[in-house]
Amino acid sequence: MNRRPLRKFKNGAFLVLSSIATLMGLACLAAILWTLLSHGLAGMSWHLFTEMTPPPGAQGGLLNALYGSAAMTVLGILIGSPIGVLAGTYLAEYGKKSRLSTVIRFINDVLLSAPSIVIGLFIYEIVVVHMGHFSAISGALALAVLAIPVILRTTEDMLNLVPVGMKDSSAALGAYPWRTTLSVLYPAARSGIVTGLLLAIARISGETAPLLFTALNNQFWSTDLNAPIANLPVVIFQFALSPYKDWQDLAWAGALIITVTILILSISARVLLALLQSGRGAGR
């Protein structure tokens, strides 16, 4: 029995189907970017960056939301990065194969894909309930908790890439591990660790769910970390679901700003990583 035509047919069908799947994936990305550009560019103007979020029917911008998002992201990274970097250092340098490290690595990977809304509830329970009100600082803490796993993972991976010879040389000069880490490993892994920070910023700057009940929102300009603060994702959420045309336009403009920022961050992180890898490859 000649099975050759059937086999060729199956193979051809598979080739076509998997190419279609890839085209569908790319089409989704293109469709989303196209929608954002066509709706968002219309709303782009200087008002966005100079005026506060308006009441319905009035003209306005997103200044307070942009500031609030930037402030909480920066604060979240400032809180999260020392913890992430130090914990990653522990896993890579001190506890490499200990049972504790295995557990921490596992838990960290679970946290990496844990639903962000659950993290929001956690911060609500331990911070907002005790303070008695919503606040910018609780929003920043929620973002920090989301940033830590990303930073920890990248730091550990990047420290592991540093050639053992460099570490040994430092140890041979009589340096304690802390000195080696600070003066040899961190500089050698610097761009890798920066990549982790960029990825973490990209991850947290679009997060909405954990801010809903930590930072809440604020229609006015506020720099008080102890009070609710406006932020881009929650403003987009509220304005997009509103029946007012002005608000929806602002939501689209905000969505475009946030997406472009995040895509630029992720692309730079990837470029940095590629440079790092090609540099290392040439060095060997």
């Binding site: 086999r7 199956k10 598979f14 998997s18 279609i20 799947a21 890839t22 994936g25 790319l26 989704c28 469709a31 989303i32 929608t35 709706h39 913890i83 970097v85 130090l86 914990a87 250092t89 522990y90 896993l91 001190y94 504790l100 557990v103 921490i104 838990i107 960290n108 990977d109 679970v110 894909s113 844990a114 639903p115 809304i117 659950v118 509830l121 956690f122 609500y124 329970e125 331990i126 830590i148 796993p149 920890l152 000069l173 304690y176 591990p177 600070l182 700057s205 679009g206 909405t208 769910a209 809903l212 809440l216 997009a240 679901l241 969505a255 946030i258 997406t259 995040i262 992720s266 692309i267």
Partner: protein, 319 residues
């Protein structure tokens, strides 16, 4: 440093201890965060758990006026939307991963891979707003009427496609979720397929197998554990995803047979109602929903990670 100053050495040792303690406490903090999440959710959910007991997860009622809450509708919605998402995203992600590892011209491999990863970086609120304003109208006008006309009258499965085409609802949420988890599944599966030793694949080709036969008889069996792990990782994402679903689910606390009807999920119920919840029991019930979500996703993600780890270890011992 020809002469070692004992004072200097003692100071170095102190710094060393401080630094080591700092890194260790940061690492332990990660454990404490997870423990803290579990404990704080338990504490917050306690009033609801104590009041409703086990019936919380078996009752459909959700009535803030009479202060009665049951989690069955959100649990149902979460599972059904995730199942729809996986039914779409797993075959598609599988196709993309195979295209990238086995078929793609080397020149296009990186750009397409990066594009898929960028889709993963788009924040979920963007998927939500896109789903509401672009996808839902398209489904309402073109896809849902077709489903109702052609599948609505078939016995047994017809009930799934009954009712008016709302646009928003369980099906739309499932489709948006599918697009969201697709890049995660595709990227994980691509990495999994990349762990198959080229020697095995070349042996297959050497025996005269077609690309499909090599994939089905060599690549897939070899990476079975990783495939299940990658799919479950995607499932974990789909179960916990909040904003994208909140936009398009319709937020109706009821269980409908039709997947075209509005519904609710655990995460969207929390996102929609938490800040408006008045009364301790209402808030506590929402936190209890969060606890349920935490337990479900934790289990799924932990199993996924365990399977991916098994693959990694095997990959290392084979190399």
């Amino acid at each position: 440093m020809a002469i070692i100053d004992p004072r200097h050495a003692a100071k170095q040792l102190i710094y060393e201890r401080i630094f080591r303690a700092a890194t260790l406490s940061a690492a332990i903090l990660v454990l404490l965060i997870l423990g803290g999440v579990a404990i704080s959710l338990l504490r917050g959910a306690w009033p609801a758990v104590a009041h409703f007991g086990f019936s919380f997860v078996t009752r459909e009622i959700w009535n803030p006026v009479t202060d009665e809450y049951g989690a069955l509708a959100p649990i149902f919605g979460t599972i059904v939307t995730s199942v729809i998402a996986m039914l779409i995203a797993v075959p598609t992600g599988f196709g993309i991963a195979l295209f990238l590892t086995e078929l793609c011209p080397p020149l296009l491999k990186r750009p397409i891979g990066v594009a898929v990863e960028l889709l993963a970086a788009v924040p979920s609120i963007i998927f939500g707003i896109w789903g509401l304003f672009v996808l839902a109208p398209v489904l309402q006008r073109h896809v849902q009427p077709w489903l109702i006309d052609h599948l609505g009258d078939i016995p047994a499965i017809g009930d799934l496609f009954k009712g008016p085409p709302y646009g928003i609802g369980i099906l739309t949420a499932g489709v948006v979720l599918a697009i969201m988890v697709l890049p995660f599944i595709a990227a994980t599966l691509r990495d999994v397929f990349d762990t198959v030793p080229p020697m095995l694949k070349e042996s297959g080709y050497g025996l005269g197998a077609t690309t499909w036969e090599v994939i089905w008889h060599v690549v897939v069996p070899h990476s079975r554990v990783g495939i299940v792990g990658g799919v479950m990782l995607g499932l974990g994402r789909a179960l916990g995803e909040t904003m994208a679903v909140t936009f398009v689910i319709g937020n109706a606390h009821r269980i409908s047979a039709s997947i075209l009807a509005p519904g609710t999920t655990i995460s969207s119920a929390i996102a929609n109602e938490f800040t408006e919840a008045v009364g301790d029991l209402y808030t506590s019930s929402l936190i209890a929903l969060g606890l349920l979500l935490f337990i479900i996703t934790f289990t799924v993600i932990a199993v996924a990670q365990a399977m991916l780890r098994r693959l990694e270890r095997r990959g290392m011992s084979a190399a």
